[in-house]
């Protein structure tokens, strides 16, 4: 094949219909407060990980979760130190700490082709 000097860009658009949204359903089932997030960002503001490492934004990870973009979550979620401050500040009573635990658990299951 000739060397073209460039490659076809990957589409950045979230293709909602093609994405795998099993993880979001899993978390909704085991931690129903997840549905109540209004993306206010109080969790991100107080998050020690988000303040001190790059690309870790728990508010954004929740959104990506709902859209089925799990690869980015997987690359970031292990940075969480489980201090639990995010949960203290949430105005809607979302159990963010539990959501993060379920994210890790659920993605692990998907990666290992387990039933989720």
């Amino acid at each position: 094949m000739p060397d073209w000097g460039y490659q076809i860009h990957k589409d950045r658009q979230i293709d909602f219909d093609r994405n795998d949204r099993r993880l979001a359903q899993y978390i909704r089932k085991y931690e129903p407060t997840f549905k109540l997030c209004i993306s206010c960002g109080a969790c991100t503001a107080t998050c020690s990980t988000g303040n001190l490492t790059e690309f870790y934004n728990i508010r954004r990870l929740n959104i990506l979760l709902m859209r089925g973009e799990i690869d980015e979550i997987w690359s970031q979620i292990s940075k969480c130190m489980f201090c639990g401050k995010c949960e203290l500040v949430c105005p809607r009573g979302v159990s963010t700490r539990k959501v993060i635990l379920l994210m890790k658990e659920g993605i692990q299951k998907i990666k290992e082709n387990e039933q989720i």
């Binding site: 658009q13 979230i14 909602f16 219909d17 549905k35 993306s39 508010r59 973009e69």
Partner: protein
């Protein structure tokens, strides 16, 4: 002799004001261009935030108008106004002439014509409807289906259609569409429990009593999804479903999604009647084309002309409770004016 007030428009504001003026003993005539009273309430099935049947408001209005001091002239418009000192001589489309000591303009709003947003495809794609069409579907008690006759597996609600949009010349917020979307989203989930419902919003404006609670209920109990982003364009797929393109602004990524039915939350525009009557009477307009009160803070019912008063959604978008309150306030303002004149 009883002083005479002519109310133009038999919607929520006009009837409520007429009822209170009649109670105060004035001789009230209501002009209505249509056949029935009630205005837009007639087109609605249930109301936010408690799903109260709109027919109850209709019944209330029918009750309110039953006063011997009120005369309703339906299917009639005002075509000419001549001022004679403190009295108005009003010529009607049926050829009759009325005299009035005060006029109340309560000519209301029209729903935004969604076809103006060409890129949303209303009137072109079969599965794009407006909030008003959906309300008619609720009233009809027919099952909710798409144009292909099947229950849609996913329904999208687009907020701010014709509102907060300089492209269509409307800079203002229509106030009621956010909460109406939440209300209708719940109703869709109620009627189609297997469907997914998504609301696309720019800001959730849950300003009224119990609105925020309804929003939370829609998430908690009904699983309604909210995506912050304005629809850029809608297209039709091969199977007739609608492909929508938004930015998920909280993810910072563009997003596309297929929906079986797309509901456009159409906003308020000044009604044709408001524009005609406003011009005919020489009233001041706001830059948005609504009628301008003399003082928006402390005298919201007076117009720029002594003896002519304003009430309801001819001034700005309003909820039903606010419109009722404004009707009563207008009645009070008119009675104070009439007491001060000979």
């Amino acid at each position: 002799m009883k002083k005479k007030v002519v109310v133009i428009g038999a919607g929520v504001a006009g009837i409520e004001a007429a009822a209170h003026l009649a109670l105060m003993g004035y001789d009230v005539t209501i002009l209505e261009k249509g056949e029935r009273i009630g205005g837009h309430v007639l087109q609605w099935d249930r109301l936010f935030p408690t799903q109260r049947p709109a027919s109850e408001i209709q019944d209330y209005l029918n009750q309110q108008i039953r006063n011997p001091n009120i005369r309703l002239i339906a299917q009639t418009c005002l075509i000419k106004n001549e001022r004679n000192n403190e009295q108005f001589n009003l010529e009607l489309s049926d050829g009759n002439v009325l005299t009035a000591d005060a006029i109340l303009v309560s000519t209301g709003f029209d729903l935004f014509d969604a076809r103006i947003k060409e890129e949303y495809g209303y009137g072109i794609y079969d599965n794009v409807i407006t909030s008003c069409d959906l309300e008619a579907l609720f009233s009809s008690e027919k099952p909710i289906t798409n144009a292909q006759g099947e229950p849609p597996s996913r329904v999208g609600f687009i907020h701010c259609v014709g509102s907060r949009d300089e492209k269509v010349g409307n800079t203002y917020c229509s106030q009621v569409c956010c909460v109406t979307a939440v209300k209708q989203a719940i109703e869709v989930r109620e009627k189609l429990p297997r469907s997914e419902v998504f609301c696309f919003y720019m800001d959730m404006r849950m300003f009224g009593l119990r609105f925020e609670e309804l929003y939370k209920e829609s998430q908690e109990k009904w699983g309604v999804n909210f995506i912050r982003g304005r629809l850029s364009e809608a297209s039709e797929n091969l199977d007739g479903s609608i492909l929508i393109k938004v930015e998920d602004t909280l993810a910072g990524r563009p997003l596309k999604m297929r929906v079986g039915l797309l509901v456009l939350m159409v906003g308020f525009v000044p009604s044709k009647g408001t524009l005609t009557i406003g011009k005919l009477l020489g009233l001041d307009f706001t830059p948005d084309g609504f009628l301008k009160p003399a003082d928006e803070y402390i005298d919201g019912n007076s117009s720029n002309i002594p003896g002519i008063y304003l009430s309801g959604t001819c001034k700005a978008p309003k909820t039903i409770p606010d419109t009722l309150t404004d009707g009563r306030a207008a009645a009070l303002a008119i009675s104070e004016y009439l007491a001060s004149t000979s």
